[in-house]
């Protein structure tokens, strides 16, 4: 009964085209944001900030970036981690080499750097489609990481190629505690998520989706293919780049090129697929799921095994964790190939129809 649209009439197109047209959604989002900004800092532990919330937000941002490319524009990419690496190393170098540059400016410039690299590697998409493109994006994945390893200038000649992120200061305030880092990341992610949502429901987003759904038809109604695809690559890489910068500055603190490996790209792709292709919400749900699932398994499997008296060694538990993770991924794809966001949507639809089944 709570989730009813009935009685909410739209008197103008502007009202109909709000970012969250249903009143209940607006209230829920407002409450959620208030809770995230003011509630969580009150009682979450350091572990929650450093090991769960911050990486969750950063991964969600990266997943959002990939979702723009894959979900909205239909270009499958396996090189997300590399674009994150570009962002991380760019932010580091801007901080290092430009005297007195504000950190937020560095982040934005890092995003732009990643966007430029993204456009470069997006060029093949004009001719290649589908899995061929996906494999081609692996070229970006391996090549970028290699470049970061091979040009010592990029890591300020550190013998190991590892960079240590500089301190974060904005207007004299140091972001060095987990809470402050969390709030910084949260702020950036919220702004960027809103921007993504706006993009998705504007002409740009429609052009992306048109190209995704049927590129010939898109061209025929006047959407320039090259411009649209490259914009998607640019925006997507921008998001990934900022995520990479945050990954280095607010999460790990120091990163090496090898850390941005294919594995990370896959994890982010998982987030997009499990969360829901082509939805902003899905990126968040997916990130939460893929990040928390292993932790959850970690925390439950061993105690469960002990409780049941199973003679499992630690190694066996780790193996089982791998298996369960893989199996759950398959399970989710089978039960809801459109991801968690769709599940949520179906739930909402059921709520709307409740108590009738159809």
């Amino acid at each position: 009964m709570l989730y009813r649209e009935a009685g909410q009439f739209k008197a103008s197109f502007a009202e109909d085209m709000q970012i969250f047209p249903i009143r209940q959604d607006r209230i829920a989002i407002g409450l959620l944001l208030a809770f995230a900004f003011f509630g969580i800092p009150l009682f979450a532990s350091e572990y929650w900030f450093s090991a769960i919330l911050i990486p969750f937000l950063i991964f969600a941002l990266a997943a959002l970036g990939l979702n723009i490319l894959t979900g909205y524009c239909g270009q499958l990419s396996l090189g997300t981690a590399a674009f994150m690496a570009v962002g991380a190393y760019a932010a580091y170098n801007f901080q290092l080499r430009v005297e007195g540059i504000p950190i937020l400016v560095s982040f934005v410039l890092a995003g732009f750097t990643a966007a430029a690299v993204g456009v470069l590697f997006g060029l093949p998409s004009l001719r290649i489609k589908g899995f061929y493109l996906a494999v081609a994006t692996l070229a970006a994945q391996f090549f970028i990481v290699w470049v970061l390893t091979k040009f010592p200038w990029l890591s300020n000649n550190s013998s190991s190629g590892v960079i240590s992120a500089q301190k974060i200061q904005i207007l004299g305030f140091s972001f060095d505690t987990p809470v402050s880092k969390y709030l910084l990341v949260l702020g950036i992610v919220v702004v960027m998520a809103l921007a993504a949502k706006n993009l998705a429901r504007s002409g740009t987003g429609r052009a992306w989706m048109a190209v995704r759904d049927m590129d010939v038809a898109a061209q025929v109604i006047g959407i320039p293919l090259m411009h649209t695809k490259l914009t998607a690559f640019a925006v997507s890489s921008f998001y990934c780049g900022v995520a990479g910068a945050l990954y280095a500055f607010c999460y790990l603190g120091s990163v090496e090129p090898d850390g941005f490996n294919l594995d990370l790209s896959f994890r982010i792709l998982f987030m997009v697929i499990i969360g829901g292709v082509g939805t902003v919400l899905g990126s968040f749900l997916g990130a939460a799921f893929i990040l928390l699932l292993p932790i959850f398994l970690d925390n439950t499997l061993l105690p469960t095994a002990h409780a049941l008296g199973l003679p499992f060694s630690n190694a066996t538990v780790s193996h089982i964790q791998f298996m369960v993770f893989g199996a759950l991924i398959m399970f989710f794809l089978i039960v809801e190939p459109h991801g968690l966001a769709r599940l949520w949507q179906i739930t909402k639809e059921k709520l709307r129809l409740w108590p009738f089944p159809h």
Partner: protein, 304 residues
């Protein structure tokens, strides 16, 4: 010049090893349109099962047969519990499911057989053929030659299977259109079970050869990464492409690794080796720009 040929031959021969893994991908893609990322994990699983049985005192040939049985079981289970339920889903969902499968196998295999890095002795010496070494001062490994022979034989058999047999035709039909294949009474389940069994067999062969070279261990799953550019170059659905692509990638990456870094060093200074990780991919990418469906891939038939 002699060195160039040595590098070329070495490259071609290691290319064959890539082809072997790529072949497994092609089989499954061709027959079910599934881009099976788990092929690398299957190579690992197959090889580990062989050494597992050998470790339990089973003679090698029997262990190989048992491992083949295990691969068939794995294929059947995959079909039964995963693919069958994903009929008609977009390719990306199937692709992701195979990544899930990869994780599953990566956990399952060592749980069954342990994590130890183990050798397989196939009884083929991985040493230079003395005659060539003395006569031309060229190093060619006997092992590599045998491996290429096996790969070539596999390809011939598979090509005949696909083109000439009733099942082969049905496999290609399924690859084209699941729904239509279903509608004319081709049982998808059986076809897929067969394909996965065959792919399992190819994985087993690849696993034995790679395993006897590098030791049977988790890293066998990385062989998949070597196979991907081969696939792109050769075309996802071409058995011949897997072979030719493998040869091209193998040869060019070896030559590039030897001849490119000095050039780059001259340009930028520093040390630029270790380009093998990306070179095949960039090569494949550049190639694609010229021919988007790969060397032998079937052109997508598209009517507006």
């Amino acid at each position: 010049m002699q060195f160039f040929f040595e590098a070329l031959i070495g490259g071609l021969l290691s290319g064959v090893m890539y082809s072997l893994v790529a072949l497994g991908f092609v089989l499954i893609y061709k027959a079910s349109g599934v881009f099976n990322f788990a092929q690398g994990a299957m190579v690992f699983f197959a090889a580990l099962t062989v050494v597992g049985f050998v470790g339990k005192g089973v003679p090698l040939p029997i262990a190989i047969v048992l491992a083949f049985g295990a691969m068939v079981l794995l294929g059947l289970a995959t079909e039964r519990f995963v693919l069958r339920k994903l009929v008609g889903q977009p390719p990306i969902s199937l692709f992701m499911a195979t990544i899930g499968l990869t994780f599953f196998i990566e956990g399952l295999a060592p749980m069954l057989w342990g994590d130890a890095v183990q050798p397989i002795e196939l009884g083929i010496q991985d040493e230079p053929i003395p005659w060539l070494l003395e006569r031309f001062d060229i190093v060619v490994s006997r092992f590599d030659l045998v491996a290429s022979g096996i790969a070539a034989a596999l390809v011939v058999v598979l090509a005949i299977f696909f083109q000439k047999t009733r099942i082969g035709r049905a496999l290609r039909a399924v690859a084209d259109d699941h729904q239509a294949a279903l509608s004319i009474g081709i049982p998808l389940e059986r076809i897929w079970a067969i394909v996965w069994a065959v792919a399992g067999f190819v994985a087993l062969v690849a696993g034995l050869l790679w395993g006897s070279r590098n030791g049977v261990q988790f890293a066998l799953t990385f062989t998949a990464l070597k196979a991907l550019p081969v696939l792109v170059l050769g075309g996802f659905d071409s058995v011949a492409g897997a072979i030719v692509g493998g040869l091209i990638i193998g040869a060019s990456e070896k030559l590039a690794e030897i001849y490119l870094p000095p050039l780059m060093q001259a340009g930028f200074g520093g040390n630029f080796g270790g380009i093998e990780g990306w070179f095949p991919y960039v090569l494949a990418l550049l190639f694609l720009l010229v021919r988007p469906e790969g060397l032998f891939g079937e052109r997508h038939i598209d009517r507006v």
